[in-house]
């Protein structure tokens, strides 16, 4: 064992904290090590001198001064709280009411939720040219005015091509023509009353609209902004390039 390790034990021994069974080996090391003996002398000498400081009497004037100061401080009248502290709860309540009023007003004026239109698909016999699995790219940034204009153009383009709405047909048996679909799409995109609410507005739904050959296919892309609807018009050229 190194002297450093013996000194750690010695430090505990000087304070009487070393287990008794370790004392004898330590004493044996001390008998043969002058450096560790000097270390012990320093430790014990310092401890005794410091312990002697505890014997030094305190000046009673100091004790009396402390008592007097404490008594004086505790006898001091407590300063009245600033006037604004009494107003703090009132101000807090007023602020809370104001914030709630603003939130309520915003809630009442919130825009209509993004509508989901009835899905218009090609009649069962017709082949599908557009798929929802092919999401459009970067169509969200189209300004509203342009989008509105494009929607009107689409309305004109698809007005002559009758389409059927499968979901609508299943419910009431009446086919929905393309003009109705376009009207519905445009009206819905402008925040009209008839649409249903989309479940997930994070991804714009893709809606294929097919017409009979050489019917154009209109794909409507709805963005998060209810005022922005993007229309793709795909024309089947019969395989000609």
């Amino acid at each position: 064992m190194s002297c450093e390790a013996w000194r750690r034990k010695l430090e505990r021994h000087v304070d009487g904290e070393l287990p008794q069974k370790e004392v004898a080996p330590l004493e044996e090391h001390l008998r043969g090590c002058a450096e560790c003996r000097a270390w012990r002398a320093d430790l014990e000498g310092g401890r005794l001198w410091l312990a002697d400081l505890a014997e030094e009497e305190l000046d009673t004037a100091d004790l009396r001064a402390v008592r007097t100061r404490v008594r004086a401080r505790l006898a001091e009248p407590r300063p009245a709280p600033p006037f604004w502290k009494g107003l703090a709860p009132i101000a807090l309540a007023a602020g809370l009411i104001t914030v709630l009023g603003i939130l309520w007003n915003e809630w009442e004026r919130r825009p209509a939720p993004t509508p989901r239109l009835a899905t218009a698909t090609r009649p069962p016999a017709a082949p599908t040219h557009a798929s929802a699995a092919e999401p459009p790219t970067a169509a969200v940034a189209v300004p509203s005015a342009r989008a509105g204009k494009a929607a009107l153009n689409v309305r004109r383009a698809v007005a002559a091509t009758p389409l059927r709405d499968e979901t609508a047909s299943q419910e009431d048996g009446a086919p929905l023509d393309a003009a109705d679909m376009a009207d519905e799409s445009i009206a819905a995109s402008e925040g009209a009353e008839q649409p249903t609410v989309a479940d997930d507005v994070s991804e714009p739904p893709v809606e294929p609209v097919m017409a009979s050959a050489p019917r154009p296919t209109v794909v409507k892309l709805f963005t998060d902004d209810p005022n922005v609807t993007i229309h793709w018009i795909l024309e089947d050229n019969g395989g000609r390039s």
Partner: protein
């Protein structure tokens, strides 16, 4: 709270007052009894003032720290568990208050080199018993000056361990460190103090 009772009585009388049970006094002080709080002050003032004095090295600064300790005791008294021993808390607050006072006063720690370069201590008188007190006072002054050269944490550990006589585990709890750290600080401090005092005594004419 009006404090008129024990705080205003002479020290000699206060020391003769029979001390009631600590938990009972603490409990009554918590409930707002001024006399009970005064009893707590009288009972612990020596311990607090002595510790602050050794930590700060100045009597006036120690008074400030002791005053601060008892004001904090009064402020936080209601949060105390009456069954708990008050002394560890008082020691901890004394250490903290002394540190605050030292910083507020801009106290500067004297280095060992400055102490060694200063004027040598006067020749100790080693003759008659009547002069033994002078010799002792001079020796204590040297030790106190050596103590003041130690780093703050080392000094706090040494004061609590060797002057206040607490165990290593108690000092560790009060200072929020491990027993091994405290033991190391205490032993290092003892050796520094011993060597500093011996060096100064060796320079005495």
């Amino acid at each position: 709270m009006h404090v008129d009772g024990l705080l205003s009585m002479p020290l000699e009388s206060a020391s003769l007052v029979k001390e009631p049970d600590e938990a009972d006094v603490l409990s009554r002080a918590r409930s707002g009894e001024a006399d009970a709080f005064e009893t707590l002050v009288v009972r612990h003032e020596r311990m607090v003032l002595r510790t602050a004095w050794r930590l700060l090295g100045e009597r006036e600064a120690a008074r400030d720290a002791a005053q601060e300790v008892f004001l904090r005791l009064h402020k936080y008294l209601r949060g105390f568990d009456a069954e708990r021993d008050l002394r560890p808390w008082l020691y901890r607050v004394t250490v903290n208050a002394s540190r605050d006072v030292a910083r507020r006063r801009g106290s500067r720690q004297v280095s060992l080199e400055e102490l060694s370069d200063g004027p040598p201590p006067p020749q100790l008188v080693r003759c008659a018993d009547a002069e033994r007190q002078t010799e002792l006072a001079q020796q204590r002054r040297l030790v106190a000056e050596a103590l003041a050269t130690l780093p703050e944490k080392e000094r706090a550990a040494l004061v609590l361990r060797d002057i206040e006589g607490l165990s290593t585990a108690e000092v560790a709890r009060i200072l929020g460190s491990s027993a091994a750290t405290v033991r190391s600080q205490v032993c290092t401090g003892r050796v520094k103090v011993k060597r500093c005092v011996e060096n100064r005594l060796a320079r005495r004419p």
